[in-house]
């Protein structure tokens, strides 16, 4: 049987089964082969190679951070990324929002019967590469196969553990009036990349997702002694949701200026066409940082030095107010509320 080859280095293992079968999750020989030849082989590291029910490791000194996230993105592959790299970046980024250095990930796959083996393998290779780039190890995992029609191809859950090697209290509660608000790059790219593929929208250039790890940027800020008050990665709901959640917990007003917020021209155009607000659109490699005003210039310089952070910007500040609120100064200079999107963003009709 012909073995599918995407590149010379990595032919699809298990090519005798071009599709995932129920038996691949059944606990028998086929499942064993799947674990050995795909997951075990690609994710190989000493902790995983022990093939125990649970990974065992010593904990470095310091506080630990732990997080979990499930990934159900459709389509599985999209411009600028795929569900595999995203499932690593997303969880690494959640750890980074505590200022933690990510150490270990678990991963659980829920696979719909009939998923092409090549698809699974490409996703696993992408996770392997992303984990390597992030400096984390995938140390334990789980596989379940569900009946055809009972899943949407592939769902992945990853849980991450990281160590906090700092004494900062990075949390919405630490945000104070006077703090400066920074974003780590242009906004709205992931959401619009997915929308463009899903809806078959054609633009002059392809909008690529911003899916990327941000922990190195955060660790650099901590190392430089920047007084970080709060960090939040800007996923679903975009900047609007993140700022509103933080304003709510901190009991402050956050005032930002629309003109200072970086949004790429093509993303802006796509949002205008669909009637969406780029500030409410999802990102996968962007964070908002609340830092003490005295450190803002220095922090911005550090963020801009990181790959993907070149367009980092200072977009506003925190103010005292009688109730939690996020306001944005419009292009023509008037102020309005920036609200959370209510439910899913729906396109406008005319």
């Amino acid at each position: 049987m012909k073995i599918l080859e995407l590149n010379g280095a990595c032919p699809v293992p298990l090519a005798q089964y071009p599709q995932v079968l129920m038996a691949h999750g059944g606990g028998g020989t086929l499942m064993h082969q799947l674990v050995e030849n795909i997951f075990g082989k690609e994710f190989s590291n000493p902790l995983l190679d022990a093939r125990h029910d649970s990974a065992q490791f010593f904990v470095p000194p310091g506080r630990l951070a732990m997080t979990t996230d499930s990934y159900v993105v459709r389509p599985i592959f999209f411009p600028g990324g795929d569900i595999g790299s995203m499932s690593v970046h997303g969880t690494v980024n959640d750890l980074a929002m505590s200022g933690a250095r990510p150490l270990y990930l678990s991963c659980a796959f829920i696979i719909e019967e009939g998923l092409p083996m090549e698809t699974l393998w490409r996703v696993v290779c992408s996770m392997r590469d992303a984990a390597k780039k992030c400096g984390v190890q995938i140390v334990t995992g789980d596989t379940k196969v569900v009946d055809k029609g009972k899943g949407d191809g592939l769902f992945i859950n990853t849980t991450g553990i990281g160590v906090m090697e700092h004494d900062l209290e990075i949390s919405p509660k630490s945000v104070l009036p006077g703090d400066t608000v920074l974003v780590s790059g242009d906004l709205g790219r992931h959401g619009m990349a997915i929308m463009a593929v899903r809806e078959g929208l054609q633009f002059e250039s392809t909008i690529e997702s911003d899916s990327a790890p941000v922990h190195k940027m955060v660790l650099a800020l901590i190392k430089a002694g920047v007084e970080i008050r709060c960090l939040r990665d800007l996923t679903r709901g975009g900047l609007a949701s993140a700022l509103n959640e933080i304003a709510e917990v901190a009991g402050v007003k956050i005032a930002i200026d629309e003109k200072l917020i970086p949004v790429r021209e093509d993303v802006h155009a796509a949002c205008e066409m669909l009637g969406l607000d780029p500030l409410q659109v999802a990102n996968e490699g962007r964070l908002v940082a609340f830092v003490a005003a005295k450190d803002a210039v220095r922090a911005l310089a550090i963020m801009r030095r990181h790959t993907g952070g070149e367009r980092s910007a200072s977009i506003g500040r925190v103010m005292e107010y009688s109730l939690p609120l996020v306001t944005v100064r419009s292009a023509i200079g008037a102020s309005r509320i920036l609200d959370m999107p209510s439910g899913e963003q729906l396109p406008r009709i005319c």
């Binding site: 419009s330 200079g333 406008r348």
Partner: protein, 369 residues
């Protein structure tokens, strides 16, 4: 972004605002007809730049908001039918009917899909010959040509599994209905630029003359709207009542003739009920006899039934410009975008939703709410 940023220039906006201040000597009430303009006014804070005694009244030009409850209920009935793929623009999915909404029908297993163009619904019908594809055709003259094209194409392709639930409405009869009401406070209109891009503005001079109101065809960007307001003020201050075109980059006097022809081919003018307003004569579009096979109401034998609006919802008064959204007792309490009582709180173009999204803080500060 080219063709947009030029019309959002802060300095030019300030200059136009200064001009408006300079020429305004008396209080004036100006209605922007279109929900898209309401949205831009509140989003960009255009009204904050205006003299205090210019009041903008938010008109009924939001297709989601004026689609009657009965039509939404029919949509819900159709969407729940087995074998039906129900297609709609995204905004309609959250509009509450008398018992539920399309999102809830979808969650219960109804095949409800968002499309960006009625032509996508025609494509779906071709791809799913065993299913009945229904499109919810709502909107003003702006979207009518696309709806007409979908019906026209479906007829050309002899599709038997495509139909439409139609609730298209027309702007000039609504202006006439507003002006003839004894409670009307409107002294000038910003006519909707996109509607006029299709229809032109030959229908407006008789209205301007009959009711002695200035009508200015206006675009949707901040500078468009400010310029439109300035043109209204200049007319009002000098006692003129003419039809003028601010949106010259998109609108010609005669409009888009081929689009109008297509609309006439497929539709004819019918009386139509507007949610919150009531029936307005000659204010809607219905399918011509030649295309009756594409009428979902006939095809599925949907019964007419009268339903009452929730008593707490004053969206009718909001749509007629008689109260501002925050003057409704339910605003922000019983009625929020997540739990809307009426459609004006649902659509991003609805006046209530626009006030809720962008204005709550001002309302809090002035203790109105």
């Amino acid at each position: 972004m080219k063709y947009l940023d030029e019309y959002r220039d802060g300095e030019l906006a300030q200059k136009l605002a200064v001009e408006i201040h300079r020429f305004t000597t008396r209080p004036w009430n100006i209605m922007e007809v279109c929900g898209g303009q309401t949205h831009a006014i509140v989003k960009f804070g255009i009204d904050e730049l205006l003299p205090k005694h210019i009041t903008l009244i938010h008109g009924p030009g939001c297709p989601v908001c004026v689609t009657p409850l009965e039509v939404i209920d029919k949509a819900l009935e159709l969407a729940a039918m087995p074998g039906v793929i129900f297609t709609s623009f995204g905004d309609m999915l959250r509009v509450p009917g008398s018992t539920t909404d399309l999102l809830a029908v979808k969650a219960k297993g109804g095949d409800v899909r968002i499309v960006y163009s009625p032509l996508d619904a025609v494509k779906l019908a071709e791809q799913n010959p065993a299913k009945d594809v229904v499109f919810l055709g709502v909107g003003f003259e702006t979207t009518a040509p696309a709806t007409a094209m979908a019906v026209f194409q479906a007829a050309q392709k002899r599709l038997k599994n495509f139909s439409m639930l139609i609730s298209h409405v027309l702007v000039p009869p609504a202006i006439e209905a507003l002006m003839s009401s004894p409670d009307c406070r409107v002294q000038a209109f910003l006519a909707a630029g996109h509607v006029c891009a299709v229809m032109g503005y030959e229908e407006y001079p008789p209205l301007a003359a009959k009711y002695h109101v200035p009508i200015v065809v206006t675009g949707f960007e901040p500078l468009d709207i400010l310029q439109g307001i300035l043109m209204c003020v200049l007319q009002l201050e000098s006692g003129r009542a003419e039809v003028e075109n601010q949106y010259t980059r998109a609108v010609r006097r005669e409009g888009n003739r081929p689009a109008q022809q297509l609309v006439r081919e497929v539709f004819h003018v019918v009386p139509r009920k507007w949610r919150g307003v009531g029936e307005i004569p000659d204010s809607g579009l219905g399918l011509n006899e030649d295309y009756a096979a594409f009428d979902a109401e006939i095809k599925f034998g949907l019964a007419d039934h009268h339903v009452d609006e929730p008593a707490d919802c004053l969206s009718g008064l909001v749509l007629q410009g008689q109260i501002k959204p925050h003057e409704c007792p339910a605003f922000g309490g019983k009625c929020k975008p997540e739990r809307p009582l009426g459609a004006t709180m649902v659509s991003s173009e609805g006046a209530c939703a626009a006030y809720y999204r962008y204005r709550r803080h001002n309302l809090v500060e002035t203790n109105i709410k």
